[in-house]
Amino acid sequence: MIKMIDVKKAFNGQVVLDGLNLEIPEGRITAVIGPSGCGKSVLMKHMIGLLKPDSGQVIVDGEDIVPLGRNQLNRVREKFGMLFQGAALFDSMTVFENVAFPLEEKTSLSRARIRDRVHEALEHVGLRGVDEKYPDELSGGMKKRVGLARALLLNPRIILFDEPTTGLDPIICKAIHRLIQETHARFGFTAVIVTHEVPEIFTLCDYVAMLLDGKVLAAGTPGEIQRSADPRVIQFIRGELEGPLHFI
């Protein structure tokens, strides 16, 4: 379980997280939604210790990770997998090398066993015959799927998805959502998805948290969020221009 208590973070004086409180339930899929620039990605980077808050606590499995040093933080990160917004594949390596990399570095599996595991993971995300391709030869959707295969490979207990479907066509979007759902059903990890895919995400996730101005504006099941009495929540999930929120 991940719990964030009164987390504050500012970059060069600009407040991004402003006393944020959030609880991510274990073994469920939680979606984090909210307008662009409201601090969703920053929030996610706090969960895995890529960023440290100015104040507040980030608790992972009962342990506050904010004061941890490099080595201890790495121990916590063993529990995590992360799919980045741009997939963050190593561009000097082929697809195969990318996916095999964590296995080669962190396990003592034989070469043949690694090859089998990598192929299994790639097939699981629907990719075949791309072993020797480099990331810049792949389409956006394929990159995301390779990233997903890499994130899943070490069977992490928590997976963070930073905008897994942004910039993809609607069919690939649906395919990726289904992939997340299927792998979640199979492995039962805790998932956190930062996304703009509203309302599609509601059919996929168990919980939703909506962020606004560095705080959690509303949190609950998709049903509760859709029935929210807060006009800002309703305006956002319906994507209306008129209302209490002004973006332009």
Partner: protein, 256 residues
């Protein structure tokens, strides 16, 4: 008045802080080399990139530097009727100064800028963050192999520079201007001491550290977007070139 003092103070503090960060960066990279060395293949790849691929540039610069030294040296020495000393002039200037400094500057331009750009792009495309999330130490894969490779490669490139330069001087001095070939090499042998060679090697070793250190640091802390990477690359090349020349002065004054 107060505003000026405050600004100056903030600037100084910022500078000191940056220098502290840079020193920490270097010490941590050295620590990682010892504690969890990268696979030999990673270092080998960097040796190929920084070293083998710089060979042609080094060869070209060295031969023309040697040739121009031969030319200039000959006409200056001819005024005193001591053209026979040409060999020692060419060899000493190359081995003590020009070899280490020019080879380091060429490597900065060719490989240093590429190192900064590569690491900078990895930073902005979150590849370094990806290593962190896998609980892997980015220094082990990105910084330490480059530092180690630069340490190995720079003295070698410097030696190649020296040898090629000496033959460049020979080509102009002996073949073109008619200095006695025996005198060219005999004077050289008489005047070049082991200490000169040793100081050249020490210099190029330390230049190797400077190049890898500054270029990796600037890339690792590149700002946002393509502009951030381009700025980091420029800063890395300028800073390591200047630092090489400053450090060269200090080393010369100590080693001479």
């Amino acid at each position: 008045m107060r505003a000026i003092v405050e600004k100056l103070g903030a600037l100084t503090l910022g500078l000191v802080r940056e220098m502290g960060h840079m020193l920490n960066f270097l010490l941590y990279a050295l620590y990682i080399i010892v504690r969890s060395p990268a696979k030999p293949f990673h270092t080998l790849k960097q040796i190929h990139f920084i070293g083998a691929k710089s060979f042609f540039v080094i060869f070209l610069t060295a031969s023309f530097t040697g040739m121009v030294l031969g030319l200039q040296g000959y006409y200056t020495l001819a005024k005193f009727g001591s053209e026979g000393m040409l060999g020692s002039v060419v060899a000493l200037s190359l081995i003590r100064e020009l070899g280490p400094v020019l080879s380091a500057l060429m490597v900065t331009g060719r490989a240093g800028s590429a190192i900064t750009a590569e690491i900078g792009i990895m930073r902005i495309s979150e590849q370094i963050d990806a290593l962190h999330t896998m609980a892997l130490e980015p220094f082990k894969y990105l910084i330490s192999p480059k530092l180690l490779a630069a340490l190995i490669v720079l003295p070698l490139l410097c030696s190649i520079f020296d040898v090629v330069g000496v033959y460049g001087g020979y080509l102009v001095g002996v073949k073109l201007l008619g200095v006695n070939p025996g005198a060219y090499f005999h004077e050289m042998e008489k005047s070049v001491e082991w200490k000169d060679v040793y100081s050249g090697i020490v210099k190029s070793l330390s230049f190797g550290v400077i190049i890898a250190w500054i270029c990796c640091y600037k890339g690792y802390h590149a700002g946002h977007g393509a502009e951030g990477v381009s700025r980091a690359t420029t800063a890395a090349v300028v800073m390591s070139s200047v630092l090489i020349l400053i450090w060269d002065y200090f080393l010369t004054s100590v080693l001479l």
